[in-house]
Assembly symmetry: C2
Homo-oligomer: 411 residues x 2
């Protein structure tokens, strides 16, 4: 909690949150503080070509069990999102050092650049480059919403490092994070054993109809984009209910033109956000949406175009590590629920190169990306304890009867 409070003191917002956009002076101040803490714990600190920072326990010749997350925030972010995963990693390493426990693998903790993507797209940039999913030159040449270039800004804050990217794959990766959703609180559960990240499909739909006077145009002669947009919003809601499971569907944006009380609009633009942990269901949802668009274009006499804004397949975490998380929670007397993540996280990038899972703790009212983001101290501590137990199992700290747990799950 002392580290969380100290990191919060950099760029604090009224109401409890932080504004620490990637590669700003605030980001530099946060980085400097966390690096100092890493060095205080005797970790070897490396900085790579996209500014990812990893601290690893020295004196081992095998790959580490890595923890970590990010310390950048959105413009009006909370104090736990990302920071918790980094600072709890420091806490775990400190606890292991203090206990004198001898592990067969080193522990490492990292923070990865520009996870939020609030200033530079794409989000999860640092971990994506770390695992080889994006070339470092392309990342450095990214221009932000303020016209600045990633490489210039990174050099400016002194975090354009020399460690190679892609980075060395860790033995395993575990990220503790606040849920950023309401499920754990709603169900009264303390620990989420995260077994997947939902796949995401974002579509922007533009409907061109015919603008008409709202009084003089009979319904039968209308080609009303607002009505078609409404039918789409109702359709995707019903689709999500029909599919059940993890399926969610959201129309978050609707823009009508000219957007006047007494004018049938000429155009409507809306977005549909579809998510599912199962690629098959996600693809089926997309296909059903496309079919509905064709149907509406025909029956309503409007032109509908659909443009994919983003598309990510679901990520499935390593079931052996999910088991470890679940067992660690139970061993410590915490209620636990296997669940998907609805948001993206650095861990999903590491899942490409090593066994990976995540630990969630409750977010009060599901609020995140907001200064009001809150998780109780008890829940934060429970999450850190589960993280500790999980990485101990992975690093040879529990040579117990739990044979397959202590077996490194490297594949």
């Amino acid at each position: 909690m002392a580290r969380i409070d100290a990191l919060h003191e950099i760029s604090p917002l009224e109401g409890g949150g932080n504004s620490r956009l990637a590669f700003t002076d605030h980001d530099k101040a946060g980085r400097d503080l966390v690096v100092a803490w890493m060095r205080d714990l005797g970790l070897e600190v490396t900085i790579d070509g996209i500014g990812n920072v990893v601290g690893v326990q020295p004196g081992f010749d095998v790959s580490p069990v890595m923890m970590g997350s990010h310390i950048d925030t959105v413009a009006t972010g909370g104090r736990f999102d990302g920071n918790l995963g980094v600072l709890s990693g420091l806490e775990v390493i400190e606890a292991v050092i203090e206990s004198g426990e001898q592990l067969t693998r080193p522990l490492a903790v990292g923070f990865f650049s520009n996870e939020e993507g609030a200033r530079f797209a794409p989000d999860m940039m640092g971990s994506l480059v770390y695992v080889g999913g994006m070339g470092v030159e392309e990342a450095l040449d990214t221009i932000g919403i303020d016209g600045k270039r990633v490489g210039d800004e990174l050099e400016q804050i002194g975090y354009l490092g020399g460690a190679p990217v892609p980075g060395t794959s860790p033995h395993a990766f575990v990220e503790l994070h606040v849920e950023q959703g309401p499920v754990l609180e709603e169900e009264g559960v303390t620990i989420g054993a995260v077994e997947s990240v939902q796949g995401i499909s974002w579509t922007e739909i533009v409907i061109e109809g015919q603008s008409n006077h709202a009084g003089t145009t009979p319904i039968r002669l209308r080609h009303d984009p607002a009505y078609v947009a409404a039918e789409i919003a109702v359709f995707v809601r019903n689709l999500a209910l029909r599919f059940g499971g993890d399926q969610v569907a959201t129309v978050g944006r609707i823009d009508l033109h000219p957007n006047l009380v007494n004018v049938v609009p000429a155009t409507a633009t809306l977005t549909v956000d579809l998510r599912n942990t199962d690629e098959g269901f996600l693809a089926q949802a997309e296909a059903e949406l496309r079919a509905r668009l064709v149907e509406l274009a025909n029956t309503e006499g409007v032109a509908i175009s659909a443009n994919v804004l983003a598309r990510f397949e679901p990520v499935v975490f390593d079931p052996r590590i999910v088991d470890l998380v679940e067992r660690a929670a139970k061993r410590n007397g915490h209620s636990v629920k296997r669940m998907p993540s609805g948001a993206g996280h650095d861990a999903q990038m590491f899942a490409r190169v090593c066994p990976t899972a995540m630990v969630f703790v409750p977010s009060v009212e599901g609020v995140s990306h907001n200064p009001a983001e809150f998780t109780s101290v008890d829940d934060l501590a429970a999450g850190a304890q589960v993280l500790l137990d999980t990485v101990l199992s992975l690093a040879g700290g529990y040579p117990s009867q739990e044979a397959h747990a202590s077996e490194p799950p490297h594949e």
Copy 2:
């Protein structure tokens, strides 16, 4: 056509329309031109306390049969909307003078201030004041969208006149206007015999839900104002189809907040425009909408408030004059259809004080309030001919076998 073209030359817009907002210098130039034409025809011109201008044939001691409309436009208006009713009135009077026909009543033509309401609310201000529906002092104190006061602007352009308001009721009132809707063109009909003006009910609906992350919040835990707004838009469309007849329903405005692809909105604001020529059906539509809002608030766990922006009861025109219009059309070999007006017109104000009806001619593609507004010369001429025949019947110019048509329908 020469007068239409000349009036168009004042404040012309690229593409054929006009920008002649009420009480501007452009309005003054238009007024000066029309007043000069009135005087050319020997009419006695009066200007009243809200700037309405009426030209009447001199030498009679009975109330006139009045024609007229407005010459102000919206900011990007057409060249026929309003102007047609005024200039065709001049044409009718000129034709009667040239024919030497002796009438038992004088003919009059007027243009009424600020019909469009595009700069000063309410619309139809001049005719409303003329018939005593609004006090002249209240009208003069109206502040416009540019912060200017009606009285000051009217004085500035020299049209704050001395004729009393409310004005003298005419014997009857007939307004020729472009339909501003697609029905006549769609059905291949030349003349609309307008028997009513739809009643209007405008409601602004504000839905307050709970903003959530589009990925992390299961459907069952959402309180989604965008979904509720969509359900309302679909409901009113289906209501209009179910009611049939003249019922129309439009959602022309939807504003979501924060209006982002991956955020369940916190609030949605939308407008519902309901219109019907039957007050009972209109009230029933409003009641069904209110019931649906209560239902959605309960099932979706959102707060819904509804605010009436405007409410006007339907206006029914005098069936005897509607008959005259219909017969005049047939006599001249034009197809004719009895129909409602979906838009508001000065004639609906005169319907409060004297027998009134309207004549519609087709608007190509129903376009109006747009420089592209268009009606063919043939249709304009057909409308003017029907207007002529109708006012001749009302002013004693057809002492024919059509007994009840020549009978002045004064009540």
